[in-house]
């Protein structure tokens, strides 16, 4: 429902808090059969969220890098709630849903953050390859490039596990 509005939300001080909350709390129903549960363990709720919302945010990284609100949307993917980029008031608003999430989500917050960071890292590092030099000329942009380099997941091969199925019934 919010996908068509992601770009505008990311650059609005108030609306982006909704997006941050969505990344923090979205859950998907997990199917009940054993094999489907196993298959969805490779694509858990956070990874499904990452594929949709995160990729939408990353696709606008070049334009987001030019405004404080846009940069904050990118910072949230790799260093959420960092006091270097979020005010105490903003952190407090984002944290309002933490008690609710603790009751409704099986996933630890740190695990969720790590999965979102992993999902965002490749796109953000590619942004640095393509636009990092120019972005660094801007004061705010240099902070963005720095934190992407320091905190994005990188330097290792990401593994894609495929299961070959030789059904023996």
């Amino acid at each position: 429902m919010i996908k068509p509005h992601v770009e505008r939300m990311c650059t609005d001080d108030e609306a982006q808090l909704v997006l941050f909350t969505a990344l923090d709390v979205i859950e998907y129903d997990i199917c009940s059969t054993f094999v489907r549960i196993l298959l969805t363990s490779f694509t858990s709720d956070t990874k499904l969220t990452a594929k949709s919302l995160v990729s939408d945010v990353i696709s606008h990284a070049s334009s987001f890098a030019t405004s404080p609100q846009g940069r904050r949307s990118l910072f949230h993917l790799i260093v959420p709630r960092s006091r270097r980029h979020f005010t105490p008031a903003q952190i407090a608003v984002i944290a309002e849903t933490d008690p609710i999430r603790a009751k409704t989500s099986k996933k630890d917050g740190a695990v969720r953050e790590s999965e979102i960071r992993k999902a965002a890292s490749e796109g953000l590092l590619q942004f640095v390859v393509e636009k990092g030099a120019e972005t660094t000329r801007d004061t705010g942009g240099s902070l963005l490039v720095l934190d992407i380099m320091l905190y994005a997941e990188g330097g290792q091969v990401s593994l894609y596990f495929s299961v070959s199925c030789h059904a023996e019934f």
Binding site: V128, E130, T136, S142, Q156, S164
Partner: protein, 162 residues
């Protein structure tokens, strides 16, 4: 259910692993180092060299340190997801001697100092040997005679490396 269990235990043991997308910081490191490798100082006043932009200089210094400086702890908080020694290696090979020496004598003394510190602490013997040759006595004499900001810190790091 029994069929599903057999399916699970007899079939799922074969897991093939193949590299998918390589998420690699070396390309990003190279891009940022290449941005520094242009001749210093810039011959275009409207487009100063990155090292002459204080915020950009701070960024490169932080990358060579491997993290942000914490005033609370009076120390650099290293990020486990980033290797400053890898960045220092890329810096040496991409930026090269001439530009590194030029920026060290200009507005980049603090960045050069951090580069030397990183190489001294984590660099290979070959890297240390090379960088000693770059920052040899002739350079030290020129630096001492200059008014470059940060020259005392750089002189200290050169001495520590010798």
């Amino acid at each position: 259910m029994q069929k599903e269990v057999r399916f699970l235990f007899t079939s799922l043991c074969r897991v093939t692993r193949s590299s998918d997308t390589r998420i690699d910081k070396s390309s990003a490191m190279k891009a940022l180092a290449e941005a520094l490798a242009s001749p210093y100082p810039s011959d275009n006043p409207a487009r100063p060299h990155l090292i002459d932009l204080s915020h950009a200089s701070r960024m490169y210094k932080s990358l060579l340190q491997g993290g942000h400086f914490s005033h609370a702890g009076n120390t650099v908080v290293r990020s486990p997801a980033f290797s400053p020694s890898d960045f220092a290696s890329v810096f040496l090979s991409v930026v090269g001697k001439d530009v590194t020496i030029a920026i060290a004598q200009g507005e980049g003394a603090f960045v050069a100092a951090e580069l030397l510190e990183r190489i001294r602490e984590e660099g290979s013997e070959e890297q240390k040997k090379n960088i000693r040759e770059w920052f040899a006595d002739a350079f030290v004499a020129r630096l001492k005679a200059s008014e470059a900001k940060g020259k005392n810190v750089l002189l200290e790091k050169i001495k520590a490396l010798s």
